[in-house]
């Protein structure tokens, strides 16, 4: 296993191809749950967790079942059901065995089923032709990137709340414009990766 390749996948998905800020996957929770730092961290951790679990399950399903029997066309439906079931399962397990963790993450879990970042990462791992380890690393990177964006943005939003904004821009519009600037900042990472490891 080429360690450098894995680091590049990881850094690439955290910084350059950040799911939220350059691919717009998972933009809903990004705008919705990034108001407070602790919320942002809670959501971020849950997403990382579910992304890793989902990839660990969907990759073998795709490779050993769907591709083997020529059922690739059911990919979307199978993946979304797996994710939905997984989220339910994780919630039940957490509630029963680790109530403390459930208390902090529980509220975010149901929201993740329809989070397009999770479905997106599982499908992208397949289309990018990653092997199992690479898929897991890429999922970790996407999750970390999501959390990074959330945490940074929660800081930006706390400033917006304190400022005087024209009426028609209150609420979502100004949030989107702020997000646009954060996204612009992430543009600076494009192209650094190869030179970073050259």
């Amino acid at each position: 296993m080429d360690f450098k390749g894995l680091v590049i996948i990881l850094m690439g998905s955290v910084l350059v191809n950040n799911y939220v800020l350059s691919r717009f996957l998972g933009i809903c929770p990004f705008l919705g749950v990034s108001k407070k730092l602790n919320q942002a961290v809670g959501m971020g951790v849950s997403v990382i967790f579910v992304m890793l679990m989902a990839t660990a399950v969907t990759w073998p399903i795709q490779t050993f079942i769907l591709e083997k029997f020529g059922l690739e066309y059911t990919q979307t439906i199978v993946f979304i059901l797996v994710i939905a079931a997984l989220v339910q399962f994780v919630e039940i397990v957490l509630k029963k065995f680790i109530p403390a963790l459930h208390k902090s993450l529980g509220v975010y879990l149901p929201l993740i089923t329809t989070n397009c970042a999770v479905l997106g990462v599982t499908i992208n791992n397949i289309t990018d032709g990653y092997n199992f380890v690479e898929s897991m690393v890429s999922s970790l990177g996407c999750g970390l990137g999501f959390m990074l964006a959330m945490v940074i943005f929660s800081g930006v939003r706390s400033r917006i709340d304190e400022s005087n904004i024209p009426n028609s821009f209150r609420g979502l519009p100004v949030t989107l414009i702020a997000a646009s600037f954060v996204s612009l900042a992430f543009f600076g990472f494009a192209g650094i990766i190869e030179n970073l490891f050259a």
Binding site: G32, Y73, I123, N167, I177, A179
Partner: protein, 227 residues
Amino acid sequence: MKNGKLSVLVKGILKENPVFVLILGTCPTLATTTTVVGALAMGLATMAVLICSNVVISLLRKFIPDVVRIPCYIVVIAGFVTIVQMFMHAFLPELYELLGVYLALITVNCIILGRAEMFASKNKVLNSALDGVGMGIGFTIALVAMATIREVIGAGTFAGMEIPFMVNHTVDIFIKAPGGLMVYGFLIAVVNVITKGKVIKKKEFSCAGCPSAGVCNGGCKNKKEGE
């Protein structure tokens, strides 16, 4: 009654526009609006899925038990998305390549699940179909509007055709990620001005019934504050 049907159809276009008023489906709105063609394709694909799923869910509304309704809806929606995917792959391969993963992600577009839960599961087949058409048109119009702004300013073209002058004076950032967020923000602000904030009340109504309210509650929470 006839009037009622018309209003079901029309409300999705402006009064309850899914993109600018209900703030649903932000992900495709931002990701596929770099070109007018892509936006139109995305809008129409979503509309097709929306109409089909609305009709089927409305037909099955008595059959589907309440406890498992969300999984049932998801299966139906994912099924239609896959069918649309396969047809596009077969007959419109360029568009299929252009939309990429976002085509599969129609499955988790909250517009579709939202309309299934809020409307189709409570209304007759014809009304549900009309609702699907209206919402679909509203979604498509919103996407094309955004794509027009972004493509004309960002690439100097409209649906691939070069526009004199603009093509030599492009503002690249408009077709990049930050430009998408910015244009979306400004458009919502414009709609806010036009509707004089009436939007805000509608918004709360629609979110309350949305199963994915939690996911897109960013919009709701913000609106409440805005008032």
